[in-house]
């Protein structure tokens, strides 16, 4: 025995031609996760199926199928998809919520269209998640939006998250806003520490 040349791999059937949308949607509800995974992947070729993929996401229990659904939604990104994914920021299911954050980070323009609404949300946790997304968003306006949070959000943890974000993507123009924030939360040791760290990072010290 020991090393043998693979023989079985070459005999596998070639994949079927692209399946129609109705078949894919039916497969998305199949019992077998590998069938759902394949359907979720192929839905990336059907922009009209984005909402169906979002619907499936909230009921899908298999982590591997979820992962593919998120990847497909990144391909099909639109403001409407971003709205549906942003709704998952309220989920108690932490892996689902984190996967939504990662997916939203991959759709800068679609997310940006919905951003102000999220930054004005009554729930400070939702605002923190939105700020976390901003900190890794490939969008030229991200530092401007983070500075806006620093200037206006009343919640200390939301502001602290924005300070973290500015440490990553902020420029020298953010320094004045950070000094103002220090005064706004005067005496808060953690904020003091976070602002000092961010300013050092921005200055390249």
């Amino acid at each position: 025995m020991a090393l043998v040349k693979g023989s079985n791999l070459a005999t596998l059937p070639v994949p079927q031609p692209a399946r129609d949308l109705a078949t894919l949607l039916a497969d998305l509800a199949a019992a077998e996760p590998s069938v759902r995974r394949a359907a979720a992947r192929d839905l990336a070729l059907h922009p009209e199926a984005a909402m169906a993929a979002c619907d499936r996401l909230v009921m899908e229990a298999s982590p591997s199928v979820r992962a593919v659904l998120f990847t497909t939604l990144i391909h099909l990104q639109s403001p409407a998809v971003a709205v549906r994914l942003a709704a998952l920021l309220r989920s108690d299911d932490a892996p689902l919520r984190n996967a939504a954050i990662e997916a939203l980070q991959e759709m800068p323009d679609a997310f940006a269209a919905h951003l102000q609404e999220l930054l004005a949300d009554d729930d400070s946790d939702v605002r923190i998640f939105a700020v976390n997304i901003l900190g890794a968003l490939r969008h030229t306006q991200a530092p401007v939006w983070l500075a806006g949070v620093v200037r206006s959000d009343p919640h200390v943890n939301v502001c602290a998250a924005a300070v973290d974000g500015l440490a990553e993507v902020g420029g020298l123009e953010a320094l004045a806003d950070l000094e103002d924030l220090r005064r706004r939360f005067d005496g808060n040791a953690f904020m003091e520490f976070a602002i000092d760290a961010a300013m050092r990072r921005i200055r390249g010290e």
Binding site: M1, A2, L3, V4, K5, G6, N8, L9, A10, L12, V14, P15, E32, P33, S34, R37, A38, R41, S62, P63, S64, V65, A67, V68, F70, T71, I74, H75, P95, N98, A99, E106
Partner: protein, 291 residues
């Protein structure tokens, strides 16, 4: 005439504008999953200038038309071959081979049905150093090797380097980490100081051309037990990485493993694999109850 035009281009002006560079990168990414940042423009430009000259194209625009619309895809393959990096050597990052023979394979052997093959996939395999190192490690250091049928598949997107891998001819530098004892056992000295892998080993590896972003290439890889995918994903963007590891998830059998390069971490790409530590190596496992 065309050559003169290109020579002129090389001497006095960029081969392509920034806009053309962006367009080319988008096309190349779509076809291969490989992404070039702005800092790589010189690298890309030099190789394109060479292909413009070799194909007798008049300009970047002419050449780009050829690459995009040529029915047999031959020029695209030449371009891919010229853009890929193939620098490697035997027993590179050998702590992963230690993990393979000392931990991963024994664990697979405990759960696998007798008679079923153990499948290992090396991708990208470049000029063959990695799959041959895997083979030698198994034959030399896994005491159960003779009890199993072990299939080693080795794939790369670069057809020229695959040809080199099949030939199995290596320089002194490439085999510098191979002991004299292993050299005499698995290599044949050739004229010019090169070393050729023995026929038995060469013939035991299944080499194939595979583009990881093309499902037509990857669909046949199923029930793989261990994937070595080292220093490939660093060239992909986040979405390309996600798609590739999801493809690997389908290719692996339940409980299968992925070994990544030392600077790569699965946690930044996907949460569907479980990190496992074997000796000095962190590898990633598809859960046994994976679905």
């Amino acid at each position: 005439m065309a050559t003169a035009t290109v020579a002129h281009l090389k001497a006095s002006s960029p081969v392509m504008t920034d806009e053309e560079f962006a367009k080319f990168c988008e096309f190349f990414y779509r076809k291969t999953g490989i992404q070039f940042q702005d800092g790589k423009k010189y690298y890309v430009e030099r190789r394109i200038a060479d292909r413009i000259e070799k194909t007798g194209s008049d300009s970047f625009r002419d050449y780009f038309t050829l690459v995009r619309f040529e029915a047999n895809g031959e020029e695209l393959q030449f371009l891919v071959n010229s853009m890929t990096v193939n620098e490697t050597y035997f027993f590179r990052e050998d702590y992963q081979f230690d993990a393979l023979v000392g931990g991963i394979l024994p664990e697979i052997a405990r759960t696998k049905r007798r008679g079923d093959p153990i499948r290992i996939w090396s991708i990208p395999c470049s000029s063959g150093e990695e799959p041959y190192s895997i083979a030698i490690s198994i034959l030399e250091r896994w005491d159960q090797a003779d009890s199993w049928n072990i299939e080693i598949c080795a794939s790369d997107i670069d057809s020229k380097i695959l040809h080199e891998a099949r030939k199995g001819l290596f320089s002194e530098r490439s085999v510098s980490r191979v002991s004299a004892q292993l050299r005499s056992k698995y290599f044949v000295p050739r004229i010019g100081g090169d070393f050729q892998i023995c026929d038995a080993l060469r013939e035991s590896i299944d080499f194939s051309l595979v583009n990881v972003v093309d499902p037509l290439h990857t669909h046949r890889f199923r029930n793989i037990d261990v994937i070595f995918c080292r220093n490939l994903l660093i060239y992909f963007d986040d979405v390309g990485r996600r798609e590739t590891v999801e493809m690997f998830f389908d290719a692996l059998g339940p409980g299968g493993y992925i070994c990544l390069g030392h600077s790569e971490s699965m946690s930044r790409m996907s949460s569907i694999f479980v990190p496992r530590k074997f000796k000095e190596s962190i590898v990633y496992q598809k859960p046994l109850s994976a679905e």
